[in-house]
Amino acid sequence: MLDEARTGHAAAIDTSIPALEMVGIGKRFPGVLALENVDLRLEPGKVHALMGENGAGKSTLIKILAGVYEKDVGTIRIAGREVEIRTPRDALSQGIKVVFQEIALIPEFTVAENIFLEDYPTSGAGNIRWRKIRDDAAALFDRIGFKVNPDARTGDLPVSQQQMVEIARALASEARIVVMDEPTSSLTPTEVEMLFSVIRRLTSLGIAILYVSHKLDEIFEIADTVTVLRDGRHISTQPKTAHTSDTLIRDMIGRQIGDLFPRSRGAGTGDVVVGVSGLSTAKLADIAFEARAGEVLGVFGLMGAGRTELAKALVGYDPIRTGTITIGGSPLCPHDTRTAVSLGIGLLTEDRKTEGLMLELPVMHNMSLASLGRFANMSFLDEKRERSAVQEFVDRFRVKTPSLEQHIKNLSGGNQQKVLLARWLMRGLKVIVVDEPTRGIDVGAKSEIFALIDRLAAEGLAVIMMTSEMPELLGLSDRIMVMAEGRITATMGRDEATQEKILNAAIA
């Protein structure tokens, strides 16, 4: 039924004119040149892959297309006609549908309603046709083999299913251009297959797809053409067939991978500083492991596997149902972050903005927050000592900030992350849990963060690193632990770990 509706639509698509042309796009943020003179050209019925490391400018380009940001310079043509996109509404009315990596669904609504959020089917009188919404959604899910109850409250679904709902939404829209930003980051392989069949269905209707990813295997499977961005600049656009993995990686990173992961230490064989046994929470079941001083324990899992939940349970943030956690031999009181911190465990959160930074506060206050006691005499702060300690870390970590008074929201992601790392190191920890430490950080800063993590382990900390990025998992970890559905499914040494083994365990 949807296909029928689309057939008429597709007939209007002229395959000889590019579906989308972006020419000379430039975008500057306060202090950052995010995009410089970028060109992009999508053909109807083709899948165009957009590749690049984090911070390469992919998201900015997509957001310009989606109307979230306005470009500073450049031209956008759709089906040959020049258009201005200033708001998401403009983008939608130009037939551009973006599937974002962050879930863009209203959790309180049903799945079916979210599918039709952008364009409710209404009766002649303008009333929402709830039956149609429900039935069409059900039919749509049927067609792509996605098993979910259309009446379920969206917020109750696991993340991967929410992601699928987002993707299914693209099918229900009248879009001529569908942009997908890292659509597979939280999907299971079955769901990835579902996604690819969705994409093929869309291209068969003459719809142009912009597929953003840095996963090479996916690109080689689904894409027709590949454009690579690096540091906000256009590097190359070539048919997939002209590329090999090596040429793609070279284009994306512009250097050897080895550079990214410096290694200054041997395998960690220190004392056990973290001991977890029988740990269960609302989202975790029967977790047991140990971490030693001087090692990086990588924890891998797909989105929704329970990585973040484990991180939060370890530092006493989330309540624990059963099990024990010991830090340096002392048991941790459940649900009390303060004793956790005083025992020497700290968490560098995945979501910097909502769980790490005090955006309105200066760099100095952000950094010294966890170790104010060191600078205080009867609670009175010795700001001189505090300032010099903070300055020391700013210098050591090469945090780029005009002053210690600068509001931290004005710093780049990488520098923010360094400040948050320094918050913990200043305090002097035994264990640091880092959750997706390089999310949203540009390449240059990424390697600095990696170097810092490596140095921490070398200095004798136990580092527990939660990540969904295979390269950093393999590049940094001494041991790897894989999670799926709240359980540990595999533990392996650095030498025995391969991508396949890890992925298989993550899907289990």
């Binding site: 959790p107 959020l117 929402i128 899910f141 098993k147 696991p158």
Partner: protein
């Protein structure tokens, strides 16, 4: 449309109707309301009479009408505390115009025009200038009340047109049974329940309050939605003010003092989250009724004002705390 056979295999089966019901905030409120009614019926013989019950519906109507507006604003993620001053203010054009023209419709038009202007100002300040809605509407609350005093010289303006329709509007009964204000409030309630459920705009309000970023990505004009919500809230406060004015037979300069607190309390009691995006108008209606029946029933029991205040305050805390407790338990 074929029934999807896969539904049975869905990872999370649809919860049973009973479980869904128990999860609904409205059910808890309804039980609370019924408990109150039963308690007061046992405690006072004059409580459970058709006359008294319909009276309470009439008394609740002002907060009901204004509450619908405030609830919509709160669902959209903002707040409006200027409604009390506005409800008092609309009586001025209403009565003045009626006295001049002997026409109720013209008076109502004048009253609603004033409400519209205030709504547009509130909406503009909040949605387009980006001023925090609590601050903006607190400011307009002061300005309007001061304006009333300044304009009237702190005198009420009597109705000298003696229009029968004007009297009937607030004091008459539909078929000698249901007070007109109750009827009007129920109609407005029904209209907005319909809008929130059946019109795309209603859904946009929830979306905007629930997650403005997502709403923007879905192509909704977040500012426009918030703007319209504040205008609706002002218009409904205007309607409440018209009814109030009719019940008072004049434009009373102190009318509506403290009304905003009553209404916000009822809205929150009705399960609308001050964070936005969550709540239902049925819940709001129940919240209003609970507070109205409480006031009526405690009066029937001859409870002194001071005890009424203490009991009402305690019930608000208990109800909101319970709701919060339930919400947290569900999350776990």
């Amino acid at each position: 449309m074929p029934q999807s056979p896969d539904l049975a295999l869905a990872p999370r089966p649809a919860p049973s109707i009973l479980a869904t019901l128990a999860r609904r905030n409205e059910v808890a409120l309804l039980i609370c309301l019924l408990a109150l009614i039963i308690f007061f019926s046992l405690a006072s013989s004059s409580f459970l009479t058709p006359r008294n019950l319909t009276n309470v519906l009439g008394q609740a109507s002002l907060a009901m009408v204004a509450g619908v507006g405030v609830a919509i604003v709160v669902m959209s993620g903002e707040i409006d505390v200027s409604i009390g001053s506005l409800a008092g203010a609309v009586g001025i054009p209403l009565v003045t115009i009626m006295n001049m023209t002997e026409s109720l419709p013209l008076g109502i038009a004048g009253a609603l025009l004033l409400a519209l202007v205030v709504g547009v100002v509130n909406g503009y300040l909040v949605a387009y200038l980006g001023i925090n809605s609590l601050i903006a509407t607190l400011g307009t609350m002061f300005i309007i009340r001061g304006g009333i005093y300044l304009y009237t010289g702190q005198r009420s303006i009597p109705d000298t047109a003696y229009l029968e329709e004007f009297f009937q509007l607030g004091n008459g009964r539909f078929f000698d049974f249901l007070p007109y204000p109750a009827l009007i409030s129920l109609i407005i309630l029904a209209i907005f329940i319909y809008v929130m459920r059946m019109r795309p705009f209603g859904r946009q309000i929830y979306a905007v309050g629930g997650n403005p970023e997502v709403a923007r990505l879905a192509g909704f004009d977040v500012r426009r939605v918030k703007f319209i919500c504040l205008v609706i809230s002002a218009l409904l406060a205007g309607v409440a003010g018209i009814l109030l004015s009719s019940r008072l037979g004049s434009a009373v300069h102190v009318a509506g003092l403290g009304f905003e607190f009553q209404v916000v309390a009822a809205v929150v009691l009705g399960g609308v989250s001050l964070a936005g995006g969550v709540g239902s108008l049925v819940g709001v209606a129940l919240g209003v009724l609970i507070l109205s029946f409480l006031s009526n029933g405690l009066g029937m029991l001859n409870l002194a004002t001071e005890w009424q205040l203490v009991v009402t305050g305690g019930i608000i805390i208990a109800a909101v705390a319970f709701d919060e407790f339930k919400r947290r338990n569900q999350k776990q």
